[in-house]
């Protein structure tokens, strides 16, 4: 799949099939083709396309129009062949002939035909443990009612459309029945080119010769996905790939992104990538940039669709991209052949192709307006399953990335933390950070001691109240900038310093951010001459992880309500500053 070869020329493929060399194949597969059309040319093209993927495919062609004869006969050639994959290729031309018979009941045609197909699936499954690939029907070109066709349920056109939906529906509860969307292949190529009636009449060819390789290609893509060849991660460049311009040169105001003008193409690209992420494809950044510059649009550009959190890995530096892609691969613990690399720069694409074999590196067109279409046309994201976990994959990989870092062979956690080169930026609430502060206030559930959901206006009031010290903390390290990740607010009372809010993003657990901030809070109390710090923990359904937070810092529990609310006191003189592994940047 390295170059994702896209030579789908019919004559070239037929010629190649005559001198096919599968000696280098790493896998074998047995595929049965059952159809009510002719498959004699489909079979060699399939073999050729499979060979390109390193698969030696043995193809069994059932007798013409013998689908049911084969599947209902226990001793049929189909079952003797013991295929791993059975392709059921039903042609709309045959369906049309069936539908247009005078005795056909149009009203029950969808039920009867979809039922017949489902029984065929069941028969195959009761005989062999094969994956079934059911082709759907290409919409016919006859429009007996013109545009009104769609409004007549019993029209041929509406019937075929309904049948396709029904077949899809029936397949959903059957994991081993996959669909080959031949209709989308035909409509993409153009049904005007697709239908070649002369050769249906004389040889039962269901499409023009030139279209046939595209059907074969679709089938191969499905089978390869079923063999586990799936893309899990898209690695993207930033400048001129995710936005127009160069962030390091053009600055935040100079780059183009957003739903207007030159930015539109990049806006669409980001929407496309975000949809991929929601569908379970992990995103990663690989950019030649200063990290701070690379992050800037994600943090500060109002029209960016993608955010830092959408990426499971974020690499921006001046190393060559092959090195960085290897690092991303190790971080995410996936194979090179499950990665796609998107970069507008042909030099970088070639470098990655040369140095990191396996990674899929599509050509990107010169015009960013064509990016999405070019990527989509390659059908890189074929899959054979989708589950709720897919949608959460980014988080899963982020966690995995964290674990792997920790396993990287440090003698101690301290040594590991030291190696991260963490830097903390701490500051009093300011107008600039208020939006993110209130966002974190709204969202943070687990590491949140009191779970007060202060609005932006309430945060602003705290900012202006001089007896309060409301602070935010930002964390960055060698690998990435985590942004604003923690908030602590304290109020100076006559006798005590009271901790009112304490919350942190779980992405930065275990790094000692809380120790760093507790040191700060105690220092603040001492500076104000306050000898005691008071605090409380208010339990919610989600914040059990910080139940003992204050105890860990030497606070004494002085009260506990029946509902589990606890009150804590700390005598500042008793506090031993905790070791931290980060340098400080004041803002």
């Amino acid at each position: 799949m390295t170059g994702k070869e896209h030579n789908l020329d019919y004559a070239a493929l037929v010629a190649a099939s005559r001198r096919l060399d599968v000696s280098g194949a790493t896998q074998k597969i047995k595929v049965a083709l059952l159809s009510d059309g002719a498959t004699q040319r489909l079979a060699p093209i399939l073999r050729t396309l499979f060979a390109r993927e390193g698969v030696d495919a043995e193809i069994y062609e059932g007798p013409f129009d013998g689908i049911e004869l084969e599947v209902y006969d226990r001793n049929s050639g189909l079952y003797k062949f013991q295929p791993q994959v059975v392709v059921l290729l039903n042609c709309v031309q045959a369906l049309r002939a069936d539908f247009l018979r005078p005795e056909t009941d149009a009203a029950s045609f969808v039920d009867s035909t979809s039922g017949r197909i489902a029984r065929i699936w069941a028969a195959i499954q009761s005989n062999i443990p094969a994956t079934i690939i059911q082709c759907n029907f290409v919409l016919p070109y006859e429009r007996f009612f013109g545009n009104f066709d769609q409004k007549i349920p019993q029209s041929l056109y509406a019937t075929v459309a309904a049948l396709n939906s029904r077949i899809a529906e029936n397949s959903r509860s059957r994991g081993s029945v996959l669909l080959c969307d031949v209709e989308s292949v035909a409509s993409w190529l153009g049904r005007r080119q697709w239908f070649e009636d002369r050769f249906w009449d004389s040889a039962k060819y269901f499409c023009a010769l030139d279209c046939l390789p595209y059907v074969a290609n679709s089938l191969v893509e499905i089978v390869m996905a079923s063999l586990g060849r799936v893309i899990k991660c898209v690695v993207v460049d930033l400048d001129n790939t995710l936005w127009g311009g160069v962030i390091g040169d053009d600055g935040l105001d100079g780059i183009q992104v957003g739903a207007h003008g030159d930015g539109e193409a990049f806006y669409r690209m980001q929407l496309y990538l975000r949809a991929l992420k929601q569908r379970g494809i992990v995103l990663a950044v690989c950019s030649k940039n200063e990290m701070a510059n690379a992050l800037l649009p994600f943090e500060k550009h109002p029209e960016m669709v993608l955010r830092r959190e959408d990426f499971a890995a974020f690499v921006a530096n001046w190393n060559d991209k092959a090195v960085n892609i290897r690092q991303i691969k190790d971080t995410l613990n996936i194979g090179f052949d499950s990665m796609v690399f998107l970069d507008d720069n042909p030099f970088e694409r070639n470098l990655v192709r040369e140095l990191v074999p396996g990674v899929v590196v599509p050509e990107l067109p010169e015009d960013p307006a064509d990016y999405v279409r070019a990527i989509s046309e390659l059908n890189l994201f074929e899959t054979t399953s989708f589950s709720a976990e897919d949608a959460k994959r980014t988080e899963m990989y982020q966690a995995e990335a964290g674990r792997r870092e920790e396993q990287a062979g440090f003698a101690s956690v301290e040594e590991f933390l030291q190696s991260l080169d963490m830097s903390m930026t701490v500051g009093r609430f300011d107008p600039f950070h208020l939006p993110r502060i209130s966002q974190l206030m709204q969202r943070s559930n687990q590491f949140n001691l009191t779970t007060r959901r202060l609005s932006e206006i309430e945060c602003k009031a705290l900012m202006e109240n001089t007896s309060w010290l409301p602070i935010y903390a930002k964390l960055a390290d060698r690998l990435s900038d985590h942004g604003l990740i923690s908030i602590v607010t304290v109020e100076a009372l006559p006798e005590d310093l009271a901790i009112r809010d304490w919350l942190m993003s779980c992405r930065v657990l275990g790094r000692g951010v809380e120790s760093f901030l507790m040191n700060r809070v105690v220092e603040h109390a001492q500076k104000l001459g306050l000898t005691r710090i008071t605090a409380q923990y208010i339990p919610t359904s989600k914040n059990g992880m910080v139940k003992d937070f204050f105890q860990q810092f030497g606070f004494d529990k002085v009260a506990e309500s029946p509902k589990g609310q606890t009150q804590w006191h700390l005598i500042t003189a008793n506090y031993r500053p905790r070791p931290t592994f980060m340098k400080t940047v004041e803002e």
């Binding site: 004559a11 010629a15 040319r41 050769f199 009449d201 060819y205 010769l209």
Partner: protein
Amino acid sequence: MPAMDQTQALQGLTEVFRTVFDQPDLVLHDAMTAADVENWDSLNHIDLIVAVERKFNIKFTTREVAGFQTVGDMAELTAKKVSAAP
């Protein structure tokens, strides 16, 4: 499109035949039939027709496709269609 005679058509057909039947040295004669050319079966016949149509930018009817008896028939009809094309 300029007029084309049968000899010129035969020259063009030779190229197509060589590719479709995978025989780089194939030499065509007017009297040749499917029996004279290795692999000229019904499948390759369709490949051949489509390749000829593409090369000469013409189209044969179903009856014409079925009616070719010799290479000469094909060359003649090809020349005629090319010459008649606007």
